[in-house]
Amino acid sequence: MTEGQTRKPLLNAKFLHKLDHLSVAARRVRLGMTKGDRRSKRRGSSVEFADYRDYTQGDDLRHIDWNIYSRLGALYVKLFEEQEDLTVHLLIDASQSMTYGTPSKFDFACQIAAAVGYVALTSFDRVSISAFSEHGEQRLEPVRGKANLRKMFGFFEGLRTGGATNLEQAGKTYFTRNRTKGVAILLSDLFDHNGFEEALRRLAMYGSELYVVHILAREEIEPDVVGDLKLVDCETSTATEISVSPALLKRYLANLTGFCEAARRFCLARNMVYVFAPNDTPIERLTLEVLRKGGLFE
């Protein structure tokens, strides 16, 4: 892994203040690990009344509604809504290709992840972060509550990049250890030599609501190259010799558009949310507008 560079503070205080009003929206209520602020499908022991049902032998006698019994003479058990927490999985692509661009795609991904993590922690949700690449996984075990903000930001600062992208392997590794369903946000450039489709399909299988934030550098979207070049893939070191011509540039742009469009369609078809995020998009606009519109925040 390459040494991570000293980064500026990921998010400024003003922006964090704006984030205080947000919380991560779960379109579908998910099972949490611990009791939290969110309604759960599970019936539990919160104060929120949900329903009645007939008493069956073995039910906790404390849950029998004695008022109903006194009026109707029948035993009913009061069901209460279980209140659970939401787990936000932040999956950051830490491969070598993410170091490209100004600011680097990885830094941008960390900013987004930090923003989402901040919102989640301040909403008393669980946040689990994994920065992955072929070289392995850097993981922040699930944390909860504002008290862990420092820990989370510290984790971002300590991240290293390097190696090739293997989305499928990363998803598998992560969700094998962390099966809690919740909201999963994948921050990647999707440049996986094995293709991103299978990886996304697998990620979806783990049951979380999946947001795919597709990060590309401006230099990739509008390449500024001339002459006869040998393009070396920073992850695989494979070289492609090109002679830049208008025709080639046109073809490249068409392929890039096609690539993004393919990702968007793929996500749409599988009930995932696809967010295209060039690295020069202001973080405020991305979080407060784009991600909010995408339904991640409420």
Binding site: M98, H193, L231, E235, A239, T240, S245, P246, R251
Partner: protein, 634 residues
């Protein structure tokens, strides 16, 4: 292997010269492997690190699939560059094709008026046909066309310089008269091609029967010309050699008259050969010469002192000029040389060794004490001795000061180095005495008008002090005190000397070729010689008292009478050329490196295509540049 290669190379070259004027420029094609090599050595590209080259690779593949000429696409620039190179090489090699007519340019007509052009063709002579063709060319001239007329036989002459004045051209062509000499085209070709430097579009047309003697002497380079063949008749039997042979030395016997005939026709010809001495018939013989063959005859000759031998063939053919030949027989004369030297001296020994083998020399030796007069000798050589008065004839003083006024003996020079040589002087031709070492020499101050032939720092080593028509040479050193006799320059000097001195009589050089000069020797107190040609025309020739003059007006065949004072000398001018006697026209001319096939009808002229090739190269170059800059189809 090498021979095989050379032969094939020559064959290929000859083939290429059929449509290329400068095939040597095809060497440019050697750049093809260099260009290909440069392509194989891949373009040095700038490495750029990218997050992923997935999309670039895909784009490249898409483009490849969509590009036209996919197989060629990768090497499109290479292909274009090869086309440019080939077009340039082809342009430099000057491709051409023949077109009818010879208009729209400048023409240089080289018209053959040699002896063979007098061959009868129907009612007229071959030369008339040639002139008719030349006049046709004049008639075909367009407005703005120019022409010049050059005639050639033994010499070339410009009859009309480049002009568009048709009447002048017609007049010049009409004025061409036949000569009896052999054909030499070299000067005419050189003249025409020197003009090409200033007149770029000059096209040379040779009107001839192609029987040219000096084709091999022409520099091997590409010439641009057309060969307009004239004549058809090959019905000829002629004399091609006629000479007197002395009996072999020591064998005695009689002189022999040698004659060689050639039958150029495709049928045997029967003729009567008669040999006359003046008006007396020496022999007559009927003989039949097979077609295409030489026929040799040798007659034993009676003892003849002087006279004119004439050989004559009596038969009917189209070229009567070579049916007669002459020989002027003169008394056998030698250069009489008197060597005045001590017979036992080294110098006398080496001089005899040098002079005796020369067949032209009749050498006598006398000791200085016995010398009285030398009036009977052509050349007197004094070694370490000088008489008090100058004797007659040519003189050579070796290490002696001739009794010439104003000559001064100023002492001695030790080990004089040879510093300068007058190579212009006839006795110094072809010799370089610079390596001669001399022990000592006299320092001589020469009189006015004398000429130092070999000089050292203090004065001459060999000098020409000729005066009043008498040729006098001197050396200021003793040849026995030098290594000169061991050097090549020594015998050459005496060879030159014998040739240079005026002789009391000419040798037995009895026949000269038509057009070749005949020497006329000076005679004391005679200023003018009269040369009478075979047709009776007399020409006055001014004589030089010191050296022979040459009379070059020998255009007619037959005996020339040269009268100097009271003396009459006969010279026989003969054609005696197999080349001229083979009157059948040549099918092609090999001039320089080109072989030019005969063109019977109208002149075919070369249309050069190099401009189109260069233009094509430029167009492809532009296209290549455009493709490179725009990256179109790449």
């Amino acid at each position: 292997m090498r021979v095989w290669f050379d032969q094939n190379l020559m064959a290929a070259r000859r083939w290429a010269e059929g449509f290329l004027l400068a095939p040597e420029y095809l060497w440019l094609l050697w750049f093809i492997p260099i260009i290909i090599l440069l392509y194989l050595l891949k373009l040095r590209r700038t490495s750029v690190l990218v997050p992923s080259n997935l999309l670039w690779y895909k784009s490249l593949q898409d483009l490849t699939a969509n590009a036209p000429f996919q197989r060629l696409r990768k090497n499109l620039l290479l292909l274009l560059q090869l086309i440019i190179l080939i077009a340039l090489a082809a342009g430099a090699a000057r491709p051409f094709f023949k077109t009818e007519g010879a208009t729209g340019q400048s023409l240089c007509v080289l018209l053959d008026h040699s002896a063979s052009m007098q061959t009868l063709e129907g009612d007229g002579a071959r030369l008339d046909l040639a002139k008719e063709k030349a006049l046709e060319l004049v008639r075909d001239m367009d407005k703005g066309d120019k022409m010049m007329v050059v005639s050639f036989a033994d010499k070339a002459g410009v009859l009309c310089e480049l002009t568009d004045d048709r009447s002048r051209l017609r007049q010049a062509i009409a004025n061409i008269t036949p000569t009896d000499s052999a054909t030499h085209i070299r000067d005419a070709i050189l003249l025409a091609h020197s003009l090409k430097l200033t007149v770029q579009d000059l096209h040379v047309i040779v009107i001839s029967d192609g029987r040219i003697a000096d084709l091999e002497e022409i520099t091997a380079r590409a010439y641009d010309l057309s060969y307009l063949q004239v004549g058809a008749s090959q019905n000829n039997l002629g004399l091609i050699a006629f000479s007197l042979r002395d009996p072999l030395e020591g064998q005695g016997g009689e002189r022999q008259c040698f004659m060689l005939m050639h039958n150029a026709s495709d049928q045997a010809i029967t003729t009567t050969l008669s040999l006359y001495l003046d008006a007396t018939v020496l022999a007559a013989e009927e003989l039949t010469v097979p077609p295409g063959q030489d026929y040799e005859l040798v007659y034993a000759m009676p003892e003849i002192e002087e006279g004119l031998l004439r050989a004559e063939l009596s038969h009917d053919d189209d070229f009567p000029l070579d049916d007669m030949a002459w020989l002027a027989v003169r008394p056998d004369s030698k250069v009489r040389v008197l060597l005045v030297a001590d017979a036992s001296s080294n110098a006398a020994y080496v001089l005899q060794r040098v002079l005796l083998p020369d067949s032209r020399v009749e050498l006598s030796l006398i000791a200085p004490d016995g010398f009285a007069s030398s009036s009977d000798y052509d050349l007197t050589i004094f070694n370490n001795f000088a008489p008090e008065t100058l004797p007659e004839g040519s003189l050579l003083f070796l290490n002696a000061v001739p009794p010439v006024p104003d000559i001064e003996d100023a002492g001695e020079l030790a080990m004089p180095p040879i510093l300068a040589t007058d190579k212009e002087h006839p006795v110094m031709r072809f010799l370089n005495p610079a390596n001669v070492s001399i022990a000592k020499a006299r320092q001589i101050n020469l009189p006015q008008g004398a000429r130092s032939l070999v000089s050292t720092a203090g004065g001459p080593l060999i000098a020409d002090v000729s005066r009043g028509g008498q040729q006098i040479l001197m050396t200021t050193f003793d040849i026995a005190g030098s290594d000169w006799p061991l050097r090549l320059s020594f015998p050459l000097f005496f060879q030159n000397l014998i040739s240079w001195i005026p002789r009391s009589a000419l040798g037995t050089d009895v026949s000269v070729a038509a057009g070749a000069p005949i020497p006329i020797l000076p005679e004391p107190e005679v200023d003018v010689a009269t040369v009478t040609a075979p047709d009776g025309t007399a020409t006055q020739v001014r004589l030089d008292p010191l050296r022979p003059v040459y009379y070059a007006g020998t255009d007619q065949l037959g005996p020339y009478d040269v009268t100097v004072g009271e003396d009459h000398t006969l010279f026989a001018v003969n054609l005696l050329s197999k080349n001229e006697s083979m009157t059948g026209p040549a099918d092609s001319l090999t001039i320089g490196r080109g072989e030019f096939a005969a063109e019977q009808g109208s002149v075919k002229q070369n249309q050069e295509l190099w401009r189109w090739f260069i233009l094509a190269a430029l167009v492809v170059l532009t296209l290549e540049w455009w493709i490179y800059v725009r990256r179109a189809w790449l």
